[in-house]
Structure formats: C-alpha cells, structure tokens
C-alpha cells in the first residue's frame, strides 16, 4: 500500500493537495475541449487527443517517479548537454511551419526547447547549491545568467522567442531564493526597465529618481554606484536615439518582427479583439457549456491551446475564470510551500525554478487573452491542448514529487 499512499495521498500533505489541484485543472480543460470539438469522440478531435496525451504523460510520470533525486543532481550536466543536443535535432528534419522547433513523432510533436528549460533550471540549481557560501558575492549571478543565455540563444535560433524569454523567467526567483542580495538583483532588472521606460519622458524621469533613491539606499563603494547609475541613464537616453535615427524603417520592422515571430498573418489585434469580446460577453455566469457563440470556432483560431481561457471565460463566465485563477493560485502556492518545506537546498531551488516556468506560462497566456500582452504561442499548464507541453507539465510534476520525498 505504500505505492498507493505515495501517489494518491502523497508522501506529505502538500503533494496530496498538489495532485488534487492538477486533477481539477485537467478536468476543467477536458470539459472545455469537449465543448469546442465539433466531433469530440473522433480520434482527431482535440478532446480525444488530449485524453491520449494525458494517459501517455501519466505513464511517463510514473516512470520518472522511479528516478532518484541524487541521480538527477549528480548527472545534471549530462542532462543539460543531452537536452541541448536534442534541440539540434529539428535542424536536421524538415521544418514545421518554417521553424525548427519540433520533432515530429507522427501522432504528436515534441518541442525539445521545452525540456531544455527544465535542464537549465537543474544545472543552475546545482551550481548555486555547490557555491552556497559565495552567494552573498555579486559575481555569483554570472554563471547562472550565462547558462540561461546559452540555452536562450539556442532556442532563439529555432526560432522561438517565446521559449527563449521564458528560459529567463526562473533565473531571478531562483537567485532570490538562493539568497543573492537584493541590490545585485536590482542591478540585473534595472537596464531592462530603463529601456522600456525610455519610451516615455515622464516615466523615464520618475524611474530616474526612483533608481537614484535605491542606489543611495544600498551600501557599497560610492564610485561604483555612481558609474552604474549613469550607465543606466545613458542607456535609456541613447536607446530612442538609436531606435529612431540609426535604424531605418525597414530595420525597425525587422526588429519588431523579430520580437514577434508568432504574429499571426491574420493580424494579432484581430485575435485580441475577438478574445476580449468573447470574454466580455461571457458575463458573470457565462453563456453555458457549448453555447459560446464567439469562441465556437467562429472567430478564434488556436482556441484549444492559446485561447482556451477565452473559451472558459465565455462559456463559464467570471465565475469559471475565478475558479481557474484560484486553482492556478493554489497550484503555485502549493509548489512554493513544497519548496519552502523541502529539507534540501538543491531540491528547493529546482522546485522554485520549475514553479516559475509554470507561473510565467499562466501569466503570459492569461494576460494575452485579455490584451495585456502581445500574442505569444504559450499554452496554459494542464488546461491547454497540446502533447509536448502537457508532457512537460507532468515531468515537472514528477520532479516535484521526487524532490519532496525527503
């Protein structure tokens, strides 16, 4: 019965809670997919495919659960190299929709970039756990960022900007978790905010003052702080100049296209307008299961993956979305609880990293459906249709299960 206890109730109270939340999310996703499939029981419907993916992923989950955490820790470099090489495979295959992101297995596609994300986290966690004593030093951030950069650069060439950006999502939370000091983390974010703030004079001025106060508040050599402060200000000042005068219109467009490779040829604003109309027309309690006139194949493409939350919002209303958001919140909170209670530093870091990936997917996807972010092909964990990502979610689940055993 120990097997049963382990897998159903979990080896601790959190694991049981985690499985309950995941099952609820999957059920919710399947109910929604059933509603939007024209012929749900045919083998080609997104519903049936999802059922098969889940069974398959569950199978992999049970296998991976047998692997010892120490094995993963000791072989983290090997795992990374393997995932890294796997990303090269698509370059030797015929491109799918003009990109080299996918390995075609006939029935479904595997996106090696997804697995590189996990491997990157494990490698960073190992590095941080091996250098725990130096964590207060500023230079500790260099190697983790370098690892993330290498992975990101590879994925960028597939090209897959969405995944390339998501690879960075776990870095800051992991560094924070590891105990890197706040000022160092601030230095990492500052240039990014500076460039974004540079688009508007007012915001840029406020940011300049804010940054000045933060720089004053932290300790360290005065000269160093002044240099970094002005480096930031100059970057901000130069960026619009560089953008407007040094790049011609064609190059700017290239840059925008580069930032938005997933832009649908039909025009992404059309999708967002339709998504918002679908969500808004759902109201408090929704139009009912299978009754969403906006999302029922009429207006939204990729609704079974990218825009599934719009379907839920239209058919189940704010009520449904609140349940889904609550489940997402509990999912992430439970994972953080597990990381916090974990007795081992390495496991704890890995779980935080994996949690960040799930969270960034949830946030970017939801924000996209309500027009807070540009269209990016990032699916929602456990809810969106799609084999490769579902498998990744189960792999994450299995790593968490493994890492919380002690």
């Amino acid at each position: 019965m120990s097997f049963f206890n382990n897998y159903i109730y979990g080896s601790n109270e959190y694991l049981g809670r985690l499985y309950l939340i995941v099952s609820s999310l999957i059920t919710f996703g399947l109910i929604t997919l059933f509603s939007i499939s024209a012929d749900p029981l045919s083998i080609n419907s997104s519903f049936m495919r999802q059922v098969i993916f889940i069974i398959f992923s569950l199978f992999i989950f049970l296998i991976l659960n047998q692997i010892n955490i120490k094995t993963i820790h000791d072989n983290s470099t090997l795992i990374y190299i393997f995932s890294f090489l796997l990303c090269f495979v698509p370059f030797f295959l015929t491109p799918v929709e003009n990109t080299y992101r996918w390995i075609d297995f006939g029935f479904f596609y595997i996106q090696p970039g997804e697995y590189l994300k996990c491997a990157t986290i494990i490698l960073i966690a190992k590095y941080l756990s091996n250098h725990q004593l130096e964590v207060k030093e500023g230079y500790i951030v260099i190697i983790p960022i370098l690892i993330a950069l290498i992975s990101s650069f590879l994925v960028l060439n597939q090209p897959d900007l969405g995944t390339a950006v998501i690879i960075f999502a776990p870095v800051l939370p992991m560094l924070l978790w590891a105990g890197v000091n706040g000022f160092t983390l601030f230095l990492l974010i500052a240039p990014v905010i500076t460039i974004i703030a540079a688009s508007n004079n007012m915001i840029f001025n406020i940011w300049g003052v804010l940054m000045f106060i933060i720089f004053l508040a932290f300790q360290g050599s005065l000269l160093k702080r002044i240099v970094i402060y002005f480096a930031n200000i100059f970057t901000g000042l130069l960026f619009p100049f560089f953008w407007n005068d040094f790049l011609n219109g064609y190059q700017r467009q290239r840059f925008i296209d580069f930032l938005n490779p997933d832009l649908d040829p039909m025009g992404s604003s059309y999708h967002i307008i339709q998504s918002i109309t679908a969500i808004g027309s759902g109201g408090l309690f929704g139009k009912g299961w299978g009754q969403g006139s906006q999302t029922q194949l009429k207006f939204l493409p990729v609704q079974e993956s990218d825009f599934i939350l719009s379907v839920i919002a239209e058919e189940f209303g704010f009520f449904g979305i609140a349940i889904i958001m609550f489940l997402f919140f509990m999912l992430i909170k439970t994972l953080l609880d597990i990381a916090f209670k974990s007795s081992d530093y390495f496991s704890s870091l890995v779980i935080v990293g994996l949690t960040s990936i799930l969270f960034s997917h949830i946030f970017v996807n939801s924000a996209m459906t309500i027009g807070l972010m540009p269209v990016k092909g990032l699916p929602t964990p456990f809810v969106s249709a799609g084999g490769s990502f579902m498998l990744l979610c189960f792999i994450i689940l299995s790593l968490v299960t493994n890492f919380s055993k002690n």
């Binding site: 924070l176 059309y270 969500i279 808004g280 027309s281 029922q296 194949l297 909170k333 309500i370």
Partner: protein, 588 residues
C-alpha cells in the same frame, strides 16, 4: 539527503507569494472589469455586430498546351452555403431552398451532414446555381437567414483535350478526408484540391493563395461593413504550360479509334512528351456538376478500364523489343561476332530438352546474322545466342534502361512493373522448378514474367535513340531538363543496334516495313507480345530525326494482333503527321 540543508528564508517565500497574489489579482480584476463591468457592451457587440474573417479566393492557374492553347480554364458558378448557427427553422428553410433549386430536401440534408464543419462555419449545400436561382434566393433573403451564396470557380475543359488521364481532376474536400491531408491547415471542407493527374502533381503551383477579408456582419450574417485594415489579398495560381501538342494529341487519339491502347510521342532531346493517349478514356465533364453514384459505378466497372492511365499504370509484356537487351549484351561483352550467321530452320531444340521452341516464321529465316535477326525479329537466333548470357547480366541490362523503376514523370501513381531475377524465380517456382537457360528463352522474347509500362518503353527507346544519355520524360514544358543516369556502351554497340532498328523499318523483309516513310528516317522495333488475355498485344517502339531533333514514339494496341501489321501503320501515320503539318512542334 544531499549534503546541503535548505535554508530558504521566510522573507523570500513571502516575496514570491506576494508577486503571485499580485499578478493573479491583476488578471482577475481585468477579467472582472471585462466580464462584469463592461459586460453589456461586449454582450451586445457579440450579438449584433461581429467582425468576421472570411476567406477570399482567386482563380486557379490555367493549363495550356505547348502552343498556348488553353486546355483547362475556370468557369464561374455560384454555390450556396449555410451557417448552421444562424438557421431559424431548418426544415422550413430547406423546403424553400428545395423549391428554388429543385434539389430534394433529403439530398440537402445529406450534404449538410457531409460537409458540416462546425456550428458557425458555412457549409456548402448546393452548387451550380443559375442566376435565376440566385435572384429568387435574394428575394426571400429575410426568410433565409444563415444562407449565403458566393462565386465558386469550376474547371472548364477544352474539347480538344478532355483527357482525364493527363489533366486529372479536382475533388471537393469533405470532413472525412480533410484530416488525412498533408497540409490540412491550408484547406477547408468544401474547397477543391487537385486529386489526380497534373492537377494533383502541380497542386502547389496551380492553387491560388487564399486571402483574408475582414467584414462586419449582423445577426443575419449580412455584410454591414468592410474593414480594410489587415486584409490580405488572394492571388491567382500560376499557369501550367504542358509539353503536350494538343493537335498531335488529338490526331493520335483518333488513330486508335475504339481500340484499347496507348500512343506516346516525345522529344528525345528535351524529354518533352508531345502526346500521351490512353484509350479508352473518360470525359472530364463527369466531374462538373452533379455525378450520380450509378454513373460512377458504371465507370469503375467498365471492362475497358477507362479509369486507368495505361501509359503509367498499365502493365504489359514488352515482347520482341527486349531482343535488343540481349543484342546489346552480346555485342558489348564480345560474346559473339555480329557478322556470324546462324541457321534458322523455324524451330529450336535446347540442348538436353525435348521441347522445341518455334520461330514465328514457321519455315525459318534461313541464315541470319545479328542485323537480320533484329530486322526480321528472328526468335531462333535469340534462343541460341541468349544461352551465352548469364541471367543476372541480362536483368541488370534491363534495369539499366529503367525497367522496374519509375521514369519520374510528373504524374502521380506511376507503376514500376517487374523484371524477374533469380530471387523472383526461386520465390515463384521454388528452388528447382525453373532453370536459368529455360527462363532466358522466354525473357529474351520479352515474354514470361516481364511487365513494363508503355512509358518505361518510351524511356528505353529514348536511351537507344540518344545513345545512352537522354532527358527525363516530363509533361511540364517549363520544367528544367534533367537527365537519367547515362548508359555507357561502346559506339560500335550502339551502331550495330541502331542499324538493326533502321532495317526493321527500311529493309525489304523488316518486320516494321508498314511504318516506313519516304521523307523521314524511322528506326524502330515491332513487338507481338503473347498474353493470357487473348490476342497478342501489338507494339511499335521507334524514333526518327526530324528537322535536326530526335523524336520517339511508342504505339501499343492491346490484344491488337501483330506488331508489324497493327502497330507499325499507326506509327507511320504519326511520322507522316510531323512531315505534313506540324512544323511548329519543332520550333519550340
């Protein structure tokens, strides 16, 4: 378990929890704003006016012959679609449509089910609507919410060439076949796709690129407004120019009258196929409008198998033309002196056997050398000489000329035929059920287990005409000229064989004398291929020089009788056609 203890700070935990709560609350408040506060606005927006992306189409590319004669063009018709969600009263509305179009309600319901792709997507339920019908539908617009008509191009064929075998046809995609398509994302149910022949082969070139138009529609699906932002125009497909000369094609077709068979004519230098006739054929108009199931069944069960393109999918024993394979082997490998003569008494008794093998000429050819053996197609000469060749060498030579291999013609569904080798015989007749010497007696006459397509036979004659280096056969005039692997034999070998082929037509007792034309030097080989289906198949494979270029032809009359008597005169007619009228073939 691992050495280092987790010392996660409660402050870090709380920071992350705070970020999480903040993000989720931000998302939720935005959802709340859209769904509860702004609900009225979006609700009415979703009910009254909707922006709908609709596909726009452009014409499919035309198909022309080499001289620019339009063989396939587009013919505008109107189709009627219905959007299931927008129907008020399906029964009543179908009845109205049935009254207007005279299509039964049952038939309408059947199509509705067959092409249904979702509650909100238009389903095609009627085609070929006349202008009068369209006007009636327009008059009763208010009763017919959910119904829309739109222009839809069909293929229109020129009377000169309605040959289903080459051109192929388009098929309407239905729900069942859609998921099995390679590029299913590009297609929607109810659209047309090249399903056979050139329409299939060049689908990517001929097909238009779909455009997208954004329109605002009201609850009745009526267009209120056109939105120009982000519209993507549709582009017509590319035209396809064929190597076929439609006059020659028509002329060749008439030569076969109602006999089953094949006529192929090609330019040896470019690989262009000028004529490709497969008789019987069937009229492409069957794909226009409504074809009933029984018409289809008749076509499929027809004894003459009109569905099959015999050029690429008909398998026949090649007969005596394969004597050339033996001859090439003999000369190239120095197995005999071509000048040496044998005595043909009309029959051959293999050593150690009691079965005699007969020559087609009962009282024998007398003294025969290689040249005479080819010219008069003497069986006994080849019975005796083939005994000098190993089976493996003989099959290898046949395969070098492209037999049991695709010709790479730009048509789908080409068959490769069969050249039996040792393994084949062991599998078929067992280890001891055959002898190498015995089967060679059959193979050298192109009989037995050999099966070839007429197009392979054309490739074979082109290899000989070009002395080993010939262009790949093709139907697209603008396709780059590519070459088959060169066949390297000594000049003397080619000379001997080609001289033999010349004498087939031009010598006094040559088997193909009926093909002879005074103005043009024609080379060729007749075949009379025995088969289990009745009379022998009559073949003529040949080539000729005309105004500095080399042309080749294959004539096959199924169960027609003797190659010399039946196929040769047809070949002669084709050559005559070149000299009489068609100079423009050469100039292009």
């Amino acid at each position: 378990m691992l050495k280092i203890e987790n010392k996660a700070d409660i402050f870090h935990y709380r920071t992350l929890l705070f970020i999480l709560s903040f993000s989720i609350l931000t998302l939720l408040s935005r959802y709340f704003y859209l769904q509860v506060i702004e609900h009225e606005r979006y609700s009415s927006k979703s009910q009254v006016n909707s922006v709908r992306a609709q596909a726009t189409y452009a014409p499919r590319g035309l198909i022309l012959d080499r001289n620019g004669v339009v063989l396939v063009e587009n013919y505008p018709t109107y189709i009627l679609t219905v959007t299931p969600y927008e129907l008020d009263d399906k029964e009543k509305q179908f009845q109205i449509i049935s009254n207007i179009t005279e299509i039964s309600v049952d038939e309408l319901s059947t199509r509705y089910k067959k092409y249904y792709q979702g509650q909100f997507l238009p389903t095609i339920i009627a085609k070929n609507l006349s202008f009068a019908e369209i006007s009636q539908i327009e008059e009763r617009r208010l009763e017919l919410s959910g119904f829309q008509y739109k222009r839809f191009d069909e293929r229109l064929y020129n009377d000169v060439l309605k040959d289903a075998h080459i051109l192929g046809y388009l098929r309407e995609l239905d729900r069942e076949s859609l998921p099995f398509l390679d590029k299913s994302k590009l297609y929607r149910a109810g659209e047309l796709i090249g399903w056979q022949g050139l329409e299939k082969q060049y689908e990517n070139e001929l097909r238009y690129s779909k455009g997208i138009e954004y329109i605002e529609v009201d609850t009745y699906g009526r267009k209120i407004n056109r939105i120009n932002d982000n519209n993507i125009p549709a582009y017509p497909g590319k035209n396809l120019t064929l190597s076929i000369d439609s006059k020659l094609q028509q002329f060749s077709k008439n030569l076969l009258t109602d006999q089953r068979g094949v006529i192929l004519v090609s330019n040896v230098d470019t690989g262009d196929i000028l004529s490709m006739v497969s008789n019987p054929s069937y009229n492409l108009d069957i794909y226009r409008g409504e074809t009933t199931d029984s018409e289809w069944r008749d076509l499929l069960s027809n004894e003459g198998k009109p569905i099959i393109n015999r050029n690429i999918a008909g398998l026949y024993p090649p007969g005596s033309s394969f004597k050339i394979i033996t001859a090439l082997n003999l000369i190239e490998n120095g197995l005999l002196d071509p000048e040496d003569s044998l005595m043909c008494t009309g029959s051959y008794l293999p050593p150690g056997s009691s079965n005699t093998f007969n020559c087609w000429k009962e009282d024998g050819h007398g003294l025969v050398d290689l040249n005479k053996a080819i010219a008069q197609s003497c069986n006994v000469y080849f019975y005796e000489t083939v005994q000098l060749i190993k089976l493996s060498d003989w099959t290898k030579t046949a395969k070098i000329f492209g037999f049991q291999n695709k010709t790479d013609i730009d048509l789908p569904n080409e068959l490769i035929g069969q050249i039996p080798d040792k393994e084949f015989f062991i599998n078929t007749y067992g280890r001891w059920g055959w002898s190498e010497r015995g089967v060679l007696l059959n193979l050298t006459l192109g009989q037995g287990d050999i099966l070839v397509t007429p197009l392979q036979s054309l490739r074979y004659i082109n290899h000989i005409a070009s002395r080993g280096s010939t262009a790949k056969l093709k139907l697209n005039a603008n396709k780059k000229v590519e070459y088959y692997d060169d066949i390297i034999l000594s000049e003397q070998t080619w000379d001997r064989v080609i001289k033999g082929l010349y004498d087939v037509v031009n010598s006094e007792a040559g088997s193909g004398w009926r093909a002879k034309q005074s103005e043009v030097k024609l080379y060729g080989k007749t075949s009379t291929a025995e088969n289990p289906h009745g009379e022998p198949h009559a073949w003529f494979n040949g080539f000729f020089d005309f105004e500095g270029q080399t042309f080749s032809l294959v004539v096959l009359v199924e169960n027609g009788g003797g190659g010399g008597a039946v196929a040769s005169p047809i070949a002669g007619q084709i050559v005559k056609f070149f000299t009489n009228e068609q100079v423009e073939i050469v100039n292009k």
